[in-house]
Subunit: 149 residues, 2 copies
């Protein structure tokens, strides 16, 4: 497998509304998507776009803001330990999600649950942080042109 | 201030050698810099390059691997809490470091120490995670062409 693009870093927050204000007013973000619920993941989500090396905003690694949604959200445990929020996961793109799944399985890495549709509308899965040098790691199939949120 | 490029995410590790093997053999990284000591920051450092949207490796957000260097390293406390390592900080680029410093000071954000030269050879400073939605945040002046590590 070849290392893919760092699509986004997942950043947990107790309040997406507060985080949006922070990224806009303190960090100077100009492109932030509307928040939406992802009930199957137990999170409310929105994306902050960052620029690439050429300065084109939206082409850089995104910040995925995630707020717990519902009492059963797996994010609740993280928020208890980190009430201010903070870095939660990293997400790398791959061309073929099934090939990637087989790759990590062969390497003995624990995959957390089935492959499912993620916040960008493409298949994703998560890998156990204890098998990934301490990082909860999401693998996502690269969105095709026009499909990206 | 306008949001700059996400230059790198800082990832702490108990062993840069193990992390380099992980990013190369598991994650499929092809460009990893030689580790070097940054004694004034109390860390050993190397960078894993990632591709941008066009697939050009080295143009995407880097992974900055940091291993504690010396008994007084501020990273030792982090490693005690996170023995496997994990996400440590985020780093955004700005065009003018002094202007950025004034901006964050005016916003009442705690800056950790003086502006100093960072791992890419350009001026940097860090902001207190409790003022930055739970994220230790590094601000660095964009490297000029040819100066980037």
């Amino acid at each position: 497998m070849k290392l893919g693009r760092l699509n986004h870093i997942g950043v947990a927050t107790p309040s997406i509304a507060d985080s949006v204000a922070y990224y806009r007013d303190i960090m100077g973000a100009t492109q932030i998507t509307e928040p939406f619920d992802l009930p199957e993941q137990g999170v409310k989500v929105c994306f902050v776009d960052t620029p690439d090396t050429g300065g084109t905003t939206g082409e850089g690694t995104q910040i995925e803001l995630i707020e717990p949604l519902g009492e059963k959200s797996t994010l609740n445990t993280f928020m208890e330990k980190n009430p201010l929020g903070g870095q939660h996961h990293v997400c790398y793109e791959v061309a073929d999600i099934e090939e990637a799944r087989r790759w990590f399985e062969e390497k003995g890495k624990r995959i957390l649950g089935p492959t499912r549709i993620g916040a960008h509308g493409t298949p994703i899965f998560f890998l156990h942080p204890k098998d990934m040098m301490g990082q909860l790691t999401e693998i996502m199939e690269t969105p095709t042109e026009g499909a990206q949120v």
